[in-house]
Every structure is written in C-alpha cells, then in structure tokens.
Symmetry: C2
C-alpha cells in the first residue's frame, strides 16, 4: 500500500516547530509494512493544499494528513480534503457532545481560562466519514474513503495524535495490509558511524531481504534490519541470522537489540539486575544525566540522589572536592572528576557514582583545556575509573554527547567492559 | 524567490530520525524573506529523487537539499542533482586535501578508529560548482547554478550543516534577495493557546502587513509578527505598533520579545539583574529543570547548586524534609514542596530555591493524587509560595510541562507576578 504523509502548517514552513509527527508516523507506517515514498509539508494555504492533496491522491493509495484541524481560521485541512474528495460537511452530534464535555472538564481545572466559540467548528465532519474520538483534545480525527483512496486526517498536537493513531488508526490500517515489514534494531555505543559503515559494507552489498541500514544518533549508532514477510513469525526468522552476525562483529558494544530500549533503560536494567544504587554528580551536564535516568519509569528502584555541583563551592560542600584540587588542577581535571565520583558515593551512600565535569562553552576554554574537554569519573567497588573526552560542537551538542558517553561509561564500568580504558 | 527544501534519506521515511534540519532551514529562509511553499522528504532512491528534484526545479527558483552527501553507497544526492542539471563530476583537489587533513586529525584523537576508503568519494564535485568547505566533517557542501536555477546541497548532520549555512550559504542568498521578511516573536507563558487565539482574533482578521501567527509550545505560546519590507529598518517600523498592542493585551505574561530568548534565559537574566543565587530541588523532573537553566551560557553566575532528591531518603537527607511530612501527606504534597524549597535554600545558601515534586507516571497515581499531580514550592525572601498543577499526557510530557511551569513560576515569584496565586 503506497502511502504519503502531508503535514499542514505554515508554522512548519517558517521553522517554528520541528515536525516530530512525521517521524512518528513514518515509523508506524514502516511497522505496518506500508510503502512510504514521500513526506510533504505545505502551509495553511488553500490552493497549495489542494494541489498537494490532489497529487498525493494520484500517486498514493493512502494519505495521512496532520494538523490544520483546530478551531482557528487557519485550520483548513478538513475543508480542503472534503472539497477535493467531493464530500459535504455536516455537524456530528456525537463530536459536539464530546467537545462540550471536554470544555466543561477543562473549565473546572482551569478556572481562569475562557472557553471560546471557535471550538464548535471542530464538530463539523465530512458526511460518511469515520470519526476518531480525541481523548486529549477537541478536534476529532477523520478517515475518509472514496474511489479506492483513503485520507486519514489527524490533529497536529503529538499528545492528541499518538494515542489516536495507536488506538484507532493502527488497527484500521493493519487490517488492510497483506505483507508486513518486520524490523529489529541493533543499538551500538562506543563506535563511530563511518567505522561501523565500513565494517558492515559487505553485509550491505549483499543485502536483499532482510536489508540493513545504519542510523547515527548522538554518541551511538543504530542498525535497523528489516525483512519483508507475510507475518511476524516469518519476519523474525529472516532477521535472526543477520542479528547474530552483528553480535559477533560488535560484541559488547551492542547495548540493546530491543526496539524500544534506550541506553538509559539498558543502564537502569543493569543496575536493577545487580541490585546497585546509583548516584550522580554533574557539573557541565547540569542535571541532564539524572533527568535521562529518570526518563525510565521505575528508575527510583536504582536512583535516589543526584547532585548538580555547578559551582566550585557546591563541588566542595556537597561532594567534598578538595580546595587544593580546584586551586591546582581546576574543576575540569581528572583529579576533580575522581573526587566528585568518590565524594558522591560517600554523600549519597550509593554503590556506584558517576561524575561529569567539563567545559561546554562557548566561553571558558583554554589552550590546554579547550571547549569540549570533559572528564568523567566512575566510583564502583572502591575503585574510581576516569575517562577523558574531547567533544566537538556547540554547548548543547557537547552536553548532549557528555550525557550519552556518561551512560556508556557507566554501563562499561558495571559490566567490566572498561578494563582496557 | 520561491524556494523548496528537499531532505534526502530513507532513515527519515522510516522514522528513524526527526527532521530538525528542515525546521532550521525553514527559519533561515523566513529570515531571508524567501517564499518557502513546500518541504519534501524523499528516500535514498535514485528514481524518486530524480522525480522530486525535477519537480522542485520546475516550481521553484532555488532548491536546498540536505543529506545524502556522505561516503556510503546510499549517498546519492550529488550524483542525482548533477545528472538532472547535466553536470559532470570531477575530483576537487582542494576538497581532497581537506578530507586528508580532517582524517589525519581525526586519527590522532581517535587512535582506535579506522579511516575508511569510502571517504574519498566525497572529493568528487560537479564541474563548475561552488564548493562549501565543511569545518566539522568530510562532505563539502555545493552550490550549483544552471539555467537561472540554483541547487544548494548541504550535509545532513546538523553540526555540519548549520555552521556551513550561516557562514557560507546565508551571505550567498542574502545578496540575491530584494525584499526581506522582518519578523518578531512575542513569547507568552501562563495562558493557553485557544484563549490567546480568541483574544487576538480581531488582529488576525484585519491583518495584511504585518501578519500575526500563534505557535503553541509546551507550556507557552509564541506569536510571530511578520512584515514584508525592503529592509530591516522598514520591517521594524511596520512591526512595532502590533507588538505594542500585544503588550497591552498580555502584559506581564510576555516574558520575551527577543527572537532567541528562551524562558530559561529570561529567568537567568532576571536573577542576574537582581543579583540572586538560585538553587533547585527536583523530584519528578529529576534534574531536567537544572539542566534547562544550565542551557544558558553564563548560568554559573546565578546557579551553583541543584539537588535531585528522587528518593524520600534524599529528600530527608539533602534538604531536610520531615519524616512526619512524608509519612502523613507524602512526597507529592504542598507541605513537602514547601519543605523542599525551604530546605534547599538552607542547604545551598541560595537566595531563591524552587522545588518540584509530583507523579509523572505511568505508575504511582491514586484517586486523590492522579498521575500528573505536581506541587512546586518557591522559597524567596523568607516566604514559601506553593502552586499545584494537574498536567496531562505521558511521563515525558508531564515532566516537560513541569519544567516549563516551574520556570514561569520562578519568574512570577521573582518579579512579584504571583500575588494572586
């Protein structure tokens, strides 16, 4: 089934928001085995929307549109698609009632906010449409079927779109698909993208079904192995030998082969398995590493205490870094990272403590310690290991890389992978 | 100048990466006053790329392509565009030398990583192209001009693309533009999207030049006022009266009218102005609030200490929450938020301390305190103010909203905006 995504919104063309919906829907289409060849973004402009919708309906079987279903005058998606398909708009009593309930509930929780009349526009739907209830907002989704083509209209806000897609659209599309794509991710840390590309070149050259594709993330690389199959069981069988081969090639640097498992989840799982309590002492990452650990539901089982010791005073007071260390070698040094990790263990009573201290820039770099210099310490079983990094990029990028490499370092320390470092 | 963005990469169509480049380039095009009507994503497929490039060159003057310039076999952008424009590929000696230097430098810093031969493919460029040096990678950018059309090819990794665009492409495009769009953002916190839309409906109805457009962010709304003008001076003059009107309507809830100023920067600036030291005590946000403050370069002037008190033990030990409080009303309570904020001030010696404690889910909710219940305390000048929130969405969304509302709360406390709360 050839499919196409159309995101509607001048705000996307002006660069005011990042189009995360397309990434989400693309992944869902891939899982459903739908052939997604194009994503298009078009503004809130009637003529260009019409042109885009018409072209998409010509070259694809199913089009999925997001955005432009809201209450404002700019919201034209429903009107345009209905017009292209020749469908008339009528009021949907069920949706009208749902909007009413939603508004009443909203008013209760937000006594200072006004309910505005423009919301009722959202109860108008093309005659014959399948209406998709919106559990998290007022604009319903819509499925329109005509002349063998399907148009699926979804609200723009991700927290409205995602549950609607998963609960209502996914099952609808699943029924229509004969083949599926079964795919599995192999997630690798500690090795760079081009090295991985070189090491799997023979596999890529000989690929037919399954295929293999590398995706570079900050500080990690994901390899997606995808098989076209008639069902999940056959897909699994096709994918298995290639996954086994990758395990031989990348060994301990593979932290997950599970689709949804993040590096922080892998770390939290390891800590759980070994019944270890973690604490963190962060300078340049400023709490981002702790926040990443707390991304994992149930992190409380292994993580209780974090220190953001952004100032030297905090490093001394909270985790007992020595005055002399700060004076002689400074806060961005192997010695300071070591003392932070050790002090963090002592101050929290945790079994493992990871520390991060570095220069994220844009200021603060010197010739000896340029921006991007980061030291990390990991105190575990009475021993402190230290790693030194030299990251490139801007402040955000350096801090982001620091967080990922800290997680990889932590993983290596707990599993004993760091013996050569 | 009609412009179009084409992102190349099957990884985008499979949903493996979020297309942040398009957001960035769209914003840049808007600033340059270029008319951007479409963004398209196409996979690493020669035929469909050719089709997309041809269509884009028909309907637009300038096309900007990103991705597909790398060393792998999948990277086809340069080859396809050169073919469509009828340009031959030749080796560029300058680029070859740069790749050589880059690789040598890389090898020095990464002794364990191998340099692979596929990199030399990147030194081949269409004959007559303007070559854009890549300061952060091996693939150069390219500007191709033919038959009155311009194709600009940029590398996919954002840390390579952005500096290349700003230093080399922006000045190139600036010279070509007669008119510009001058735009200004008015950034508002504490008011919901639909209420703002209703309150500016009259302004939107009567708009010609400048125009006004609302963008909902998590916990805030940005209004973009855009004027078409012959230069920046005229643009500023056109935009000014509308900005003044918005200031009258939304008053103290406007935290910035500066394009780049984030809510965390507004807060850090306020703290700097008033020479206040901030500390933070976080439970459900788990360090994300501190990390957000540390996003701001120079945050060290106002922020030194953060506590991530994820466990009850940490709440007691680090910021002296009373055992009785945890036992009777629990960690997610007005009382606990109050004690965390007060204790945080005492433990850090800061002038202001903000605390956040809540239930981010998916587990841990009860009938009295459902998932999304969050309490925040702000201790300032000996007084602790508390706010209670009920957020909706998943774990990530609840934590993200908590961070934004915490920043807004902090801002209100320091400026005295919270008197009614």
């Amino acid at each position: 089934m050839i499919t196409e995504l159309i995101s509607v919104g001048t705000e996307i063309l002006l660069g005011n928001i990042v189009n995360t919906n397309s990434a989400y829907l693309s992944e869902m289409c891939a899982r459903l085995g739908m052939d997604l060849y194009y994503q298009t973004v078009v503004g809130d402009n009637e003529e260009r929307m019409k042109h885009t919708v018409k072209m998409a309906l010509e070259r694809s079987d199913t089009i999925i549109l997001t955005g432009g279903l809201g209450p404002t005058q700019d919201d034209l998606t429903k009107e345009v698609v209905a017009q292209v398909l020749g469908m008339e708009l009528v009021e949907d009593a069920h949706t009208h009632r749902r909007i009413e309930e939603y508004m009443e509930n909203y008013a209760k929780n937000n006594p200072n906010r006004k309910i505005t009349d423009n919301n009722w526009k959202q109860a108008m739907v093309p005659k014959g449409a399948i209406v998709l209830d919106n559990a998290n907002g007022t604009a319903p989704g819509l499925i329109l079927e005509k002349n063998g083509k399907t148009a699926i209209l979804l609200p723009g806000p991700p927290n409205e779109l995602k549950p609607m897609f998963e609960e209502q659209v996914y099952p609808y599309l699943r029924k229509k698909q004969p083949d599926i794509f079964y795919s599995q991710l192999v997630k690798i840390c500690n090795i760079g993208e081009s090295q991985i590309a070189a090491e799997i070149q023979d596999l890529i050259e000989n690929q037919t079904n399954p295929t293999i594709a590398p995706y570079a993330k900050t500080g990690e690389v994901h390899l997606r192995i995808t098989a076209r199959a008639k069902d999940e069981k056959e897909g699994k069988k096709l994918v298995k030998p290639l996954v086994r081969e990758l395990k031989i090639r990348f060994g301990k640097n593979i932290y997950a082969t599970d689709e949804r498992k993040t590096l922080e989840e892998a770390v939290v799982d390891l800590l759980k398995d070994q019944k270890l309590k973690l604490s963190l002492v962060e300078s340049c990452t400023g709490g981002a590493l702790a926040a990443r650990i707390v991304n994992v539901p149930g992190a409380s089982e292994v993580f209780g205490t974090g220190f953001v010791t952004y100032s030297n005073k905090a490093k001394r007071k909270l985790v007992m870094v020595k005055k002399m260390t700060l004076k002689t070698v400074g806060a961005v040094s192997e010695k300071c990272a070591r003392e932070m990790a050790k002090g963090g263990c002592a101050a929290s009573g945790a079994d493992v403590c990871l520390s991060v201290t570095g220069i994220a820039g844009p200021d603060g770099g010197t010739k000896e310690k340029p921006v991007g210099t980061v030291f990390m310490g990991c105190c575990y079983q009475g021993r402190v290991r230290v790693r030194e990094f030299h990251f490139s990029g801007n402040r955000a990028k350096i801090r982001e890389q620091s967080v990922v490499y800290a997680l990889a370092f932590l993983r290596d320390c707990i599993t004993g992978n760091d013996e050569e470092s």
